[in-house]
């Protein structure tokens, strides 16, 4: 089932082109690594998908509905890049933060928040103030928040930046489990080629426009991509095969 469809998306910021005629689709169960150089438009693309940036030309459809008419936001979980930039004075416990992702409050939903914590193995943090946690723990709390409505699509913006190697492994293992066991589609912006190659199934390489969008297998076998990317292809494909 097609859950995201982007056609000829073009976006400029103060007359500077950021995205040019970007087109791609995402289906249920996809796990897509969204890669590209700095300034390639990755975060802008994600923000446009989520309706956080306005003023683009082209078409975006989510779950078969044009973005302007889409309202079933509980189907989408979002983990932004700046999770560690929240107001440090905010007096919130872990369970309060996870509960913020819920559409409405209620005892059933409270149960959903507890389940999300349980799924990520952080139930013991439930009543701790968010500010008392490490960067990796906070990242998991925000992932739990993104998962609390049992979304069908998870969008992650550079989720591994605050994680040490050990936390990174357990974080990506959790993502893989969500993708494989629950069929949740994942779009993950990443500069972490090793993790992208190890966990994602498809690569969407963006540099203002879509340079490559297909499975890692095809990317790794493509001589054209080898000529174009060289070291990047070697690194990402080495991890993928491993």
């Amino acid at each position: 089932m097609e859950i995201v469809s982007v056609k000829n998306l073009t976006f400029a910021y103060q007359a500077n082109p950021v995205l040019e005629r970007v087109s791609f689709t995402v289906s249920s169960g996809d796990f897509i690594a969204l890669a590209g150089p700095n300034g390639a438009g990755k975060t802008t693309l994600v923000r446009l998908l989520l309706g956080l940036n306005q003023g683009a030309q082209g078409e975006i459809s989510l779950f078969g509905k044009p973005l302007a008419k889409f309202s079933a936001w509980s189907k989408i979980g979002y983990l932004p890049q700046r999770v560690n930039k929240f107001n440090p004075l905010f007096p919130a416990t872990v369970i309060e933060v996870v509960g913020l992702g819920l559409k409405k409050r209620g005892s059933k939903n409270k149960e959903a928040a507890n389940k999300a914590l349980d799924f990520l193995g952080i139930t013991s943090l439930r009543d701790r103030p968010l500010t008392s946690l490490s960067g990796g723990q906070q990242q998991k709390v925000f992932l739990a928040r993104a998962l609390v409505n049992k979304p069908e699509l998870l969008i992650l913006d550079e989720p591994s930046t605050a994680l040490d190697p050990e936390s990174r492994h357990s974080f990506f293992s959790a993502l893989k489990k969500i993708n494989q066991e629950q069929g949740v589609a994942i779009i993950m912006i990443t500069h972490d080629s090793a993790s992208a190659g190890s966990y994602a199934k498809k690569l969407l390489y963006l540099d203002k426009t879509v340079i490559f969008y297909d499975s890692f297998k095809i990317f790794c076998q493509s001589e054209e991509m080898s000529a174009r990317f060289g070291g990047f292809q070697h690194l990402i494909c080495h991890q993928h095969q491993g």
């Binding site: 989520l50 107001n87 905010f90 007096p91 913020l100 819920l102 409405k104 103030p129």
Partner: protein
């Protein structure tokens, strides 16, 4: 006990009732505003209200009837100015605040006859509050708190992070307009309690004191409410006993509560 005889006076009871209602409302809104880094909006709106009160007196209309719609419009204007011109929130507030005071001063200068009345709004006079004003304060405060309780989940989400809230389906723009209106209402009501000059203290200080102690958002709201009501009840009593101005006494009690809560946090950390 003779010392407590003053509790039998009608004007003291009215001051307690209206003060507690307005303090509860200001405290709850204050926590939200402080966490959204909009602490100064109370100052800005009260200064705009000063201009509106002067306009009311100038036109011979009951001043608070003019102040309420003007304060609501000013709160929208601050939001639009902040959003459309990408100004920092405090810069938008500073502009509106300065214009409000300027209008008030110009009107007071033109009319010359109502400076005494305008002065009473500057510093508030809760001990002179009428029964009608008490009823309005209690009814409006109660209604606003019910609205906040109804929108609690959305308010909490948007206060924590507006963009994340938006992606969770919260209509953030609409919510911000509602909060701006409620803040304007709270400011206008609080003018009678502590006066234009000290309104922001009633919004900000109980909230900041509560944030020294609170471990959760709900906890912060409860502490802020307790501190604000306590400060009004003790402030009104002390003001009567010592013959000090009520508004300023309430603010000073709030300040001592803040010092105590901050000291407690500091000593706990040390």
């Amino acid at each position: 006990m003779e010392i407590l005889d003053f509790l039998n006076y009608g004007f003291i009871q009215r001051a307690y009732l209206a003060g507690a209602a307005v303090a509860s409302l200001s405290a709850v809104l204050g926590v939200i505003l402080v966490l959204r880094q909009l602490s100064l909006i109370g100052d800005g709106l009260s200064h705009v209200s000063f201009g509106a009160l002067a306009l009311g007196l100038f036109l011979g209309v009951f001043p608070l009837y003019v102040a309420l719609p003007v304060a609501i419009l000013a709160s929208y204007f601050i939001m639009v100015l902040k959003e459309k011109t990408k100004l920092y929130g405090d810069a938008a507030i500073a502009i509106v605040s300065a214009v409000g005071v300027a209008v008030g001063v110009i009107l007071a200068s033109l009319a010359q006859g109502f400076n005494v009345n305008l002065f009473s709004y500057l510093f508030g006079n809760i001990l002179a509050i009428s029964l009608t004003e008490v009823l309005i304060s209690v009814f409006v405060s109660f209604s606003v708190i019910i609205i906040i309780a109804y929108l609690y989940h959305d308010i909490l989400a948007a206060t924590f992070d507006e963009e994340l809230a938006q992606v969770s389906g919260v209509k953030v723009k609409r919510l911000n307009f509602i909060l701006a209106s409620l803040t304007a209402i709270s400011v206008v009501l609080a003018i009678k309690v502590v006066g234009v000059m000290l309104v922001s203290a009633l919004l900000v200080i109980p909230a900041v004191s509560a944030l020294q102690l609170a471990k959760s958002f709900k906890n912060a709201l409860i502490w802020a409410l307790i501190f604000a009501v306590f400060s009004v009840l003790v402030g009104v009593s002390l003001s009567f006993i010592t013959d000090l101005p009520a508004g300023a006494t309430i603010v000073m009690i709030n300040f001592f509560i803040f010092l105590t809560s901050w000291l407690r946090k500091y000593l706990k950390k040390a």
